[in-house]
Symmetry: C2
Subunit: 419 residues, 2 copies
């Protein structure tokens, strides 16, 4: 229990810091207990301090605390007959890095079991010297490490028709961010001698779907990577072990996992996954194809759907923002459903095509509220409302939902998806 | 097998890029096979492409590929009767992030099993308002996320007397780097009202050792964090779940894990762990105490001890550099045991008190070589040779070995610790 004086001190502090526009200071008006000014009260020794720790050394490869057993990837709700993806628990994460065990999955024929010693990458087509590379060859090339987000183009798709998901994970969890390490693809393509006629590349996976996509050569010669490591260690099986393509900022499925082949040509291949899927039906009946970059987007993760604010007072609103078109320039936050917007603080470093963590100080007065975030990227693109998105793209779109996510806070503190 | 023409082309390419001082290009003269210019040769379908993947969706919390089962934390070699630490496999890692499962461990009484709902942080001593915080209180404060290295002050210690470790992991593996999220300690201390007489803080862990260290208030009010998350997810048990102190750049043991108490006072407490340990015996018989910051250091991780270069030709030398005193300014690499030094490329972003990945292109001609890296930090401090370190500090030191690590490459390609 806080003393009256203490609450008053903290209120003044909060008022001062908020008036000054600072979020460095802050105050929590909840259950902070003022200790008696005697050591005996709080020098109670907990049971875990009285014994030797149970696990003297953790397993060779460690796992999360047992108390965090609910922080896991989840399947869509309801679970489909043949699930093809799992989602990252955005509402439980902090900062920008997604730990490898929680990176979202999207497979087109499950996870192949590839022996890295037998895996090969073939580069052929419009090159002077077609080549086959082993993994041993590839890791000898000059490498680079970059922190990039990865988002499925179908992320948040179910929300376009009506509100379906309840949590940030259910709605937006086909999104992760890792430090990826590999070889700049242009380095290896130069070894093969790119012919001037080559305008497109076909990338093919070694999974049962032989997942294939056509990619403009401009991207392949720019920042495309042949990735073999994520967050320091080798790729996880479900992320393409031992080798994947990585196209920073592009829709996730194009960063072909279990990459076995790149063919250069002068036109796109019109593969199954760029004709029957990953296109959008426009109002005029035509299909919008080759929508590569993931547009500017953000979502508030704390607090968010299915959480409950137990008490009035200070909360830090926090979330992530990203753009496939470059850096995030700014994020604004509204707590009144979009009438009034304020600048959030962006956590440094703000990197190209990476998640950016934003934070905004908020004092909840106990009245109903609607929390929203709106990101702007370096190109000046502004994250749209759902109405604006549907007006621009028509009601039939499925991919590339980058609309603003509103979270409704009820007077009892319960938070729901306000779509 | 490479064709003669192909090898020649690549040699010219290498020569050009090296003369131009570029490491963006590169060439591998090993086993790259020139495919016949017919698709039939490399469109062989692998077994894993012919079937549905075995694990359709990975477990809710994923693990590394079974082919990476040797990339684990290890105990010291030989294993002590009561092991108190495990080491990060630096030679198998890429980039700067250490995945949580591989972050090094150092415990003084094992890993306590703390229920986060029962955990409390007490702040008392020279404060106006002593307080007790629950975890629920703490996560409501304004937070920040930073990528910082963490190094045990005893890292590399065994090397001071003679060469003992064989791999980068065995020698230098008490080193990791994560994105840490928590509350700036100064925010919470300000809530408690720091009295002007407070010059030192005592931080105490809730483990069986009740690990305690004295920390200058200047650090506590600067960049010290109350950390509850690492690499996105909540702290691992072995890293202090649910709450640890984090003192960027300071020796690891001071970032008290399982933090239960902070007391402010006007002088250090002279605890067991700052008198009987974590001090160094100087030549004049006095103990050097309170050596907080980890000095500028670097180590080549690829290639490194116990690896073997199978073929002559191009290799990328790569490693990590860090300094507890700030940013890394530059890293130089020598391949001739320190006679000639060249600038390595630093991977952006170069962050304060974070690991930095450096890279250097090298063509191995098959002759014996000694690979070394030498880091310089923003304060101008230069990583010393072992001789210089011992000359400056005396032969009895145990902690803070930041000497240059030489790796000897034999004519047969085998790499050994050249200490």
């Amino acid at each position: 229990m806080s003393s009256k004086k203490d609450v008053s001190v903290r209120r003044n502090f909060l008022k001062k810091t908020l008036i000054a526009g600072s979020v460095v200071g802050g105050a929590v008006t909840s259950k902070i207990a003022l200790a008696q000014n005697s050591e005996s009260n709080f020098l109670v020794v907990d049971p875990w301090t009285k014994t030797q720790g149970s696990g003297f050394i953790n397993p060779p490869y460690g796992l999360p605390s047992k108390y965090e057993k609910n922080v896991v990837r989840v399947l869509p709700n309801p679970v489909p007959t043949f699930p093809t993806g799992s989602r990252t628990p955005l509402q439980s994460l902090h900062g920008i890095i997604t730990p490898n065990g929680l990176v979202f999955e999207r497979h087109h024929a499950g996870i192949p079991d590839i022996n890295p010693d037998q895996h090969r990458l073939v580069i052929h087509g419009m090159v002077d010297r077609p080549m086959i590379f082993t993994m041993e060859d590839i890791v000898r090339f000059p490498s680079e490490s970059r922190i990039y987000f990865l988002e499925c183009s179908g992320n948040s798709a179910a929300e376009l028709k009506k509100a379906t998901g309840k949590t940030a994970q259910e709605i937006h969890g086909l999104l992760s961010c890792c430090e990826w390490t590999g070889v700049r693809l242009s380095t290896i393509l130069q070894e093969c001698g790119v012919q001037s006629s080559a305008k497109w590349a076909l990338a093919e996976g070694a999974d049962g779907a032989a997942m294939t996509r056509s990619i403009p050569m401009s991207k392949m010669m720019d920042d495309a990577l042949l990735v073999y490591a994520q967050n320091g260690e080798m790729l996880r099986a479900e992320q393409g072990y031992p080798l994947r393509l990585f196209l920073p900022g592009f829709e996730g499925n194009m960063s072909i996992k279990w990459l076995r082949r790149i063919k250069l040509g002068d036109a796109p291949w019109q593969t199954r996954e760029e004709t029957s899927a990953y296109t959008d039906l426009l109002p005029d009946g035509k299909a919008e194809q080759f929508t590569f970059a993931m547009d500017v987007k953000s979502v508030i993760t704390q607090p968010s759907g299915m959480m409950k604010l137990k008490l009035k007072g200070f909360y830090e609103i926090s979330g992530v923002a990203w753009s496939g078109n470059g850096k995030i320039r700014s994020v604004e936050v509204s707590t009144d459903g979009g009438k009034f917007w304020s600048q959030a603080i962006l956590q440094e470093p703000v990197m190209d095509k990476s998640l950016v963590r934003f934070r905004f100080p908020w004092v909840w007065d106990g009245a109903p509220a609607v929390l929203m975030s709106r990101a702007v990227d370096a190109s000046g693109d502004v994250q749209p409302t759902m109405d604006a998105l549907l007006k621009a793209k028509g009601a039939n779109i499925f991919y590339h939902n980058n609309a603003i996510q509103p979270w409704r806070v009820a007077a009892n503190g319960e938070i729901t998806n306000d779509r």
